[in-house]
C-alpha cells in the first residue's frame, strides 16, 4: 500500500490551484479530504505525478444561507454537514446522507466537493446533490460558471468539469413550503458504500397532493440517476403507501445497472425500488411536518 512517487503542491488559493492544474494537466490530481484518492493511489490504481492539495485553501469551508439558497463551500466536511442546523432545517436529507458515509474518521476528512468531483457511482453525496437540484459553482482558467447538478454527473467517475476546473461551492435552492426530503441506502457490508441508495425530495400541496418530486438513485447504477418515471408517478397524487410503492417499483428504469459480489443487477434493481419507497415515504412524512 505504497503510492508511486508524486510531487506535492500545497495550494494557498483557488487561483493557484487552477494555475497548477493547468500547468500539469492530466498528470495532476486535486487532493481535498483524500479519502477516495489516497486509497486509489496506495493501490496504484492512480499514479498522479502531481498532487495539488486544495485542503489548506482558506475560505472554502462554510454553510451559509443567502439569496434564496444555502451555499456550502466545496471543502466542507461530511461531519460539518452532518451537524449543520441550517441544513437540517431546510434539507433533512443532506445531514442524513452525510451521517451514513463511511465512519467518523472518513466524515471528519471527506468533503462534499471532493465527493461530487470524484463521482463514484456508489457514493452517497452525488445522489443527494442531484435530488436537491443543487447548482455547482466551478472555477477554471476561463473564469467562473455554474452547472446544474443534473448536468454535472456524466458517468462513472466522470463529471462536466473541464480541464483545470475546480468545484468551489454547492448551492442548494431553498425549498418551497411543505417540502420534505430523505436519504436511505442499503450499504455494502464491507465498504458501506451504497449497493442501492435513494435521495428523495417531495413537495406537497395544501391538500396533501404531491406537487413536485425529485428522486435520484445511487449505487445501483453506473452514475447517480434521476428516476423520472417514479417522479411522474408521484406528482398529482396523495402519497399513501400503495401509491408510493407503485411509483417506487419503477426506480430502476433508466439505470445502467452495476453488478459485483455485493449485489447482482437483479438485486440492485429491486433494492433501488425498496430504497426509493422508503425514502419517498419518509420525505412525505417530513413534508407533512
Amino acid at each position: 500500500m505504497i503510492p508511486a512517487a508524486f510531487e506535492y503542491h500545497p495550494a494557498t488559493s483557488v487561483d493557484e490551484a487552477i494555475a497548477l492544474l493547468s500547468q500539469y494537466g492530466d498528470d495532476a490530481k486535486l487532493l481535498a479530504g483524500g479519502h477516495s484518492l489516497l486509497p486509489t493511489m496506495k493501490l496504484r490504481l492512480a499514479q498522479p505525478a502531481h498532487l495539488i492539495d486544495i485542503g489548506r485553501i482558506p475560505g472554502l469551508s462554510y454553510i451559509r444561507e443567502e439569496q434564496g439558497a444555502v451555499a456550502v463551500g466545496a471543502l466542507t466536511t461530511y461531519a460539518t454537514i452532518e451537524r449543520s442546523e441550517v441544513l437540517r432545517r431546510h434539507f433533512a436529507l443532506l445531514p442524513e446522507c452525510a451521517s451514513v458515509i463511511g465512519d467518523p474518521q472518513v466524515r471528519n476528512r471527506g468533503t462534499i466537493g471532493g465527493s461530487i468531483s470524484h463521482a463514484d457511482p456508489s457514493a452517497d453525496m452525488p445522489g443527494a446533490v442531484r435530488a436537491l437540484r443543487a447548482e455547482i459553482r466551478v472555477r477554471g482558467p476561463n473564469g467562473e460558471r455554474t452547472v446544474a447538478a443534473d448536468d454535472f454527473f456524466l458517468g462513472t467517475f466522470t463529471t462536466a468539469l473541464e480541464p483545470g476546473e475546480i468545484v468551489t461551492e454547492i448551492r442548494f435552492p431553498l425549498p418551497p413550503a411543505r417540502t420534505g426530503s430523505a436519504y436511505t441506502k442499503l450499504a455494502n457490508k464491507a465498504s458501506h458504500y451504497a449497493v442501492a441508495g435513494c435521495a428523495a425530495v417531495v413537495t406537497l400541496g395544501a391538500d396533501g397532493t404531491c406537487t413536485a418530486a425529485s428522486v435520484v438513485i445511487t449505487g445501483a447504477g453506473t452514475m447517480p440517476t434521476r428516476a423520472s418515471t417514479v417522479e411522474a408517478a408521484l406528482v398529482g397524487k396523495q402519497l399513501d403507501e400503495a401509491t408510493v410503492a407503485e411509483a417506487a417499483s419503477h426506480a430502476a428504469e433508466g439505470l445502467e445497472l452495476m453488478e459485483d459480489i455485493h449485489g447482482s443487477k437483479q438485486y440492485r434493481a429491486q433494492m433501488a425500488a425498496v430504497m426509493a419507497r422508503r425514502a419517498i415515504l419518509k420525505a412525505a412524512e417530513r413534508a407533512r411536518g
Binding site: M1, I2, A4, A5, P39, L43, L186, N188, K189, A190, S191, Y193, V195, D260, I261, H262, G263, S264, Y267, Q270, M271, V274
Partner: protein, 784 residues
C-alpha cells in the same frame, strides 16, 4: 492483613496501559542502523507458468541493493516447514514450496521475487521494473472440481489434486441408517459449505532480520505466535545451528492462528540480511495480508444424520472436502483430519459416527488454523445435524439437544469418533441459556410475529471443543509448554514462559497464579515472553492452550520453588520443613505462628546468604515443562435472536446470550473479553465475511472495501453467563476459552436465520442478497 486471592477475580490486564497509550513496540516500530527494506513481487495470476524473469531494470533502480528470485535461493534456503506431512503425496513433496515460486505460480499473490532497497518506497517502486513472462494456465478454485480427474493440475507429477483421503468402510453406518429407517426413523442429508475466511488481525505480519557476520548469529523479530518453533525451523531452512538463531516476538496485534506459521517472508528477510550484512525489514500491507496470509475454514461437508421418531440420533455420517489452497503451511493438511473429524459428534452421545475426508489443492491461498481451527467446522456440522433432525421431526431444537446430550455422569466419555471428553454438563448450560434469554416466551413471540408475516428466528448452539493440546501422539512433536520461574534477592518474581501471548492477557493471569501461590502482591511478579534467548523452549500460543498448558507449567514451577523455600525457611526457623507453611507471604511454623520469616527474607537468604542448609543449592530458579496427559473440552450454549428485513434480506441480530464453561476461570474479565471477541468473529462468519475468488483464481476480496468485517454497530450487547466444570487433567482445572465464542457463534446465528425462514438449512455467509433470493422464492411458491 491477608492478601486477597487474585485467581478468580476480574482484575484488569496489566499489559493494557502500554498497549492503549501507544508505548508498546511492534515489529514496524523497530528501526535499526543501516536497515534495508524488502518488497515482494507477487503473481497476478491464479495459475501460470513462469517463462522468464528479468530483474535487470529493477537492480539498476535508485536505492536498490539486491533483487532475488528462486534461482538465488536454490540449495541455500530450504522449503516452508510443514508440521505433520501426510501420506501418500505430501510426504513425497506435494504442496511443498520454497520461499519464492519456481517454474510455476499457483495462486494470486504467490511470491515470485523480492527487492531489497534503501527505503520502503524504493523497494516498492522497483517491483514495477521486474519483468515476468507468464504463460497463464487454467485455474481451479472449487475443491470438488479440483478433485475431478479432468481438473487442471497444480502438481502435474502427482496426477491429481487430491493430497490425501480418508475413507473407512461404511458397512456399520449403512446398517444403522437402514435400521433406523426400517424402524420408522428419519435419515436427513444436507450439503453445507463452511466458507473461506481471512483472519485479518489488526496488525499485519512483519519481520526484521539482522545477521552479524562475525559470529554468524541471526536475530529475527517477527509478529508471530510461535517464537521457538520459528527459530528451530528457520535455523533448519537457513542451515544455521539453532543457537545461532534468536527469535524475538515483540507486541503482536492479533494472530487468530494466522501467525502460527513459518512464512516465506521470514526466510527471505533472513536470507537478504545474511547476503547483504544489513538488517532487513518487511511489513505486510493489508492487501497482501488478505491475499497471502493463510485463510481459514473452506470446507464442504456432506452431513447425513439418522434419528428415531422421538429424536434420538442413531448415526452420523460426514464427508469432508477440505480446500488446502495451493501450498502447505504449518498445519494446512491436518486441520480437517485432526481437528474436524474427531469432533463431529459435538455434545451428543451418537452411537455410531462415520467420518471421511478428501483434502484437495486448489489455486487459492493456503488455508490453515484460524480461530477454532477445524473445531468451528465440527461444531457447525454437529449443530446443523441436530437442527436438521429437529426440523425433519417438527421438534423443538432444544428438546432434540436435551435428548442427545452426553450426560454429566458419563464423563470421562469416549465418543463414537474415539475422542475422549474430560468433563461436562451440557444440559445445565443449555438450561441456563434458555432461562437467560426467556426461550419459551421468545417462541410464543415468534409465533405471533409469524402470524403478522414477520421473520424472527431463534438459534441454539450447544458446542463442545477441544483445547489444551496436547498430549503425546497428537502431533509428530511434543506440544508441551514451559516456565522458568525465578525469585530474586529482593523477593520479586520473574516468570519466563515458553508460550507467546499476543493479546490473550497471560502477563496478567500467569502473575495471578504465582502471586496467589506465593502469597505476594501481583506487582512483585513480572511475566516475560517472546524471546528465545531468555525463555525456555516453548511451543507458542494457539488452540486455547496457553493457560491450560503454560499456566500449569507456571503453577508447577511455583510449587517447586515453594518447596525449596520451605526448606530454607525451616533452616532459618530451626524447624522441620514438614512443619513450615507459607501463607500471605510468610513462612511460619505450625503451632507457633509468631515464629516466622517473610517471603522476601527467604528469597534474600536463598540468593545471598552463605548459610543455606546442607544439600540446598543457592538461588531460587527452576524450569518446568508440562505436557498434559489429555486434552480439555470446553463447552457451552449460545442462543441468539434474529430479525430479517423481508424487503432487503438483511439480518438484524436482536439478542445474543452466551453461557460458557471453560472450567475454572482465573480471571472472569479476560474470559468475558475472549467470549466477546470470539462471538464477533463467529457472527462475522455467519453474516458478513467471505474470501471470494473468480474462476481464474483472481482474488475479488483484496481490500476491506470488499472483505466485510463485522462492526460493533451491527452487534447487540452480549449477555454472558457461565457454568464451571473443572477439567481433571491439570491442577488449575482450566480448559481454555480463546476460541469458544467463535466456535459457538456461527452455528447459533446460522440456526436462527434458518429458523426465521422456516428452512432446514441456509448456507453461510447469510448475506442480504442470498436471504432476499430465498424470500423471493418462498413468496413465488406459497407453502401448500
Amino acid at each position: 492483613m491477608g492478601i486477597a486471592a487474585l485467581v478468580g477475580t476480574p482484575i484488569k490486564r496489566r499489559e493494557d496501559p502500554r498497549l492503549i497509550t501507544g508505548q508498546a513496540t511492534y515489529v514496524d516500530d523497530l528501526k535499526l542502523a543501516g536497515m534495508l527494506y524488502m518488497a515482494v513481487l507477487r503473481s497476478p495470476y491464479g495459475h501460470a507458468r513462469i517463462r522468464s524473469i528479468n530483474t535487470e531494470a529493477a537492480r539498476q533502480a535508485p536505492g536498490v541493493v539486491a533483487v532475488y528470485t528462486a534461482q538465488d535461493l536454490k540449495g541455500v534456503v530450504g522449503s516452508i516447514p510443514v508440521a505433520a506431512p501426510l501420506p501418500p503425496h505430501i510426504t513425497n513433496g506435494m504442496g511443498r514450496r520454497g520461499p519464492l515460486a519456481e517454474g510455476k505460480v499457483r495462486f494470486y499473490g504467490d511470491p515470485v521475487a523480492v527487492v531489497i532497497a534503501e527505503s520502503r518506497y524504493g523497494a516498492r517502486d522497483a517491483l514495477d521494473l521486474i519483468e515476468v513472462d507468464y504463460e497463464p494456465l487454467p485455474a481451479v478454485v472449487d475443491p470438488e472440481k479440483a478433485a475431478q480427474p479432468d481438473a487442471p493440475l497444480l502438481y502435474e507429477e502427482f496426477g491429481t489434486n487430491v493430497a490425501a483421503s480418508v475413507h473407512p468402510p461404511t458397512d456399520e453406518i449403512d446398517r444403522v441408517f437402514a435400521e433406523t429407517q426400517a424402524n420408522g426413523g428419519v435419515v436427513v442429508k444436507q450439503r453445507i459449505v463452511n466458507q473461506r475466511l481471512a483472519p485479518s488481525p489488526m496488525e499485519t505480519r512483519g519481520v526484521v532480520a539482522e545477521f552479524r557476520k562475525a559470529d554468524r548469529t541471526l536475530t529475527v523479530w517477527s509478529s508471530s505466535q510461535i517464537p521457538h518453533l520459528l527459530r528451530n525451523y528457520l535455523a533448519e531452512q537457513l542451515g544455521l545451528p539453532q543457537h545461532q538463531v534468536r527469535v524475538i516476538v515483540p507486541e503482536v496485534g492479533g494472530g487468530f492462528g494466522c501467525k502460527l506459521n513459518i512464512y516465506p517472508e521470514e526466510a527471505l528477510a533472513a536470507f537478504a540480511a545474511m547476503k547483504t550484512g544489513r538488517p532487513v525489514k518487511w511489513i505486510e500491507d493489508r492487501s497482501e495480508n488478505l491475499a497471502v496470509t493463510i485463510h481459514g475454514r473452506d470446507q464442504i461437508d456432506y452431513v447425513e444424520v439418522a434419528a428415531t421418531r422421538e429424536g434420538k440420533i442413531t448415526g452420523l455420517k460426514v464427508h469432508v472436502v477440505s480446500d488446502l489452497g495451493a501450498y502447505l503451511q504449518f498445519f494446512t493438511d491436518v486441520i480437517a483430519i485432526a481437528f474436524t473429524l474427531p469432533m463431529i459428534c459435538g455434545c451428543y452421545d451418537i452411537p455410531v459416527a462415520y467420518g471421511s475426508c478428501d483434502i484437495v489443492f486448489t489455486n487459492k491461498a493456503p488455508t490453515d488454523a484460524y480461530r477454532g481451527a477445524g473445531r468451528p467446522e465440527a461444531a457447525y456440522i454437529a449443530e446443523r445435524a441436530v437442527d436438521l433432525v429437529a426440523h425433519a421431526l417438527g421438534k423443538d431444537p432444544a428438546e432434540v439437544r436435551m435428548i442427545n446430550f452426553v450426560k454429566p455422569e458419563q464423563f470421562p466419555h469416549k465418543m463414537a469418533t474415539g475422542t475422549v471428553y474430560d468433563s461436562g454438563n451440557y444440559q445445565l448450560a443449555l438450561e441456563k441459556a434458555m432461562q437467560l434469554i426467556g426461550y419459551q416466551q421468545l417462541r410464543a413471540e415468534q409465533a405471533q410475529l409469524r402470524a403478522q408475516g414477520k421473520l424472527m428466528g431463534i438459534g441454539i448452539s450447544s458446542y463442545v471443543e477441544i483445547c489444551g493440546i496436547g498430549p503425546k501422539g497428537l502431533t509428530p512433536f511434543g506440544l508441551y509448554e514451559s516456565a522458568r520461574v525465578r525469585v530474586d534477592q529482593s523477593g520479586d518474581v520473574l516468570i519466563y514462559t515458553g508460550a507467546s501471548p499476543h493479546g490473550q492477557g497471560e502477563e496478567t493471569t500467569f502473575a495471578q497464579i504465582a502471586a496467589d501461590e506465593f502469597g505476594i502482591p501481583i506487582e512483585r511478579v513480572l511475566v516475560l515472553h517472546g524471546d528465545t534467548d531468555s525463555t525456555p523452549e516453548g511451543r507458542g500460543t494457539y488452540g486455547s492452550r496457553t493457560t491450560a498448558v503454560g499456566g500449569t507449567a507456571v503453577y508447577n514451577a511455583v510449587q517447586k520453588l515453594k518447596e525449596k523455600m520451605k526448606q530454607i525457611a525451616a533452616h532459618m526457623l530451626e524447624a522441620s520443613p514438614a512443619d513450615v507453611t507459607l501463607e500471605d507471604g510468610r513462612f511460619s511454623v505450625t503451632g507457633a505462628p509468631q515464629k516466622a520469616v517473610t517471603f522476601a527474607e527467604v528469597a534474600a537468604a536463598a540468593n545471598f546468604s552463605n548459610t543455606l542448609p546442607p544439600g540446598i543449592e543457592p538461588g531460587l530458579e527452576t524450569t518446568v515443562f508440562f505436557e498434559p496427559e489429555a486434552c480439555t473440552f470446553p463447552f457451552g450454549t449460545h442462543i441468539c435472536v434474529v430479525e430479517i428485513d423481508k424487503d432487503t434480506g438483511e439480518v438484524h441480530l436482536r439478542r445474543y446470550v452466551a453461557v460458557d464453561d471453560c472450567g475454572r476461570q482465573l480471571n472472569p474479565l479476560l474470559v468475558a473479553g475472549q467470549i466477546h471477541g470470539g462471538i464477533v468473529q463467529g457472527v462475522g462468519q455467519a453474516l458478513f465475511e467471505g474470501v471470494v475468488y473468480d474462476e481464474n483464481g483472481q482474488l475479488l476480496t483484496s481490500t476491506f472495501m470488499d472483505y466485510a468485517m463485522p462492526l460493533a454497530s451491527e452487534l447487540p450487547p452480549f449477555e454472558l453467563d457461565h457454568t464451571v466444570t473443572p477439567t481433571p487433567y491439570n491442577p488449575l482445572g482450566v480448559k481454555g476459552v480463546g476460541e469458544a465464542g467463535t466456535i459457538a457463534a456461527t452455528p447459533a446465528v446460522a440456526a436462527a436465520v434458518a429458523d426465521a425462514l422456516g428452512l432446514p438449512h441456509v448456507d453461510i455467509p447469510l448475506t442480504p442478497e442470498r436471504i432476499w433470493r430465498i424470500i423471493q422464492q418462498q413468496q413465488a411458491q406459497p407453502q401448500a
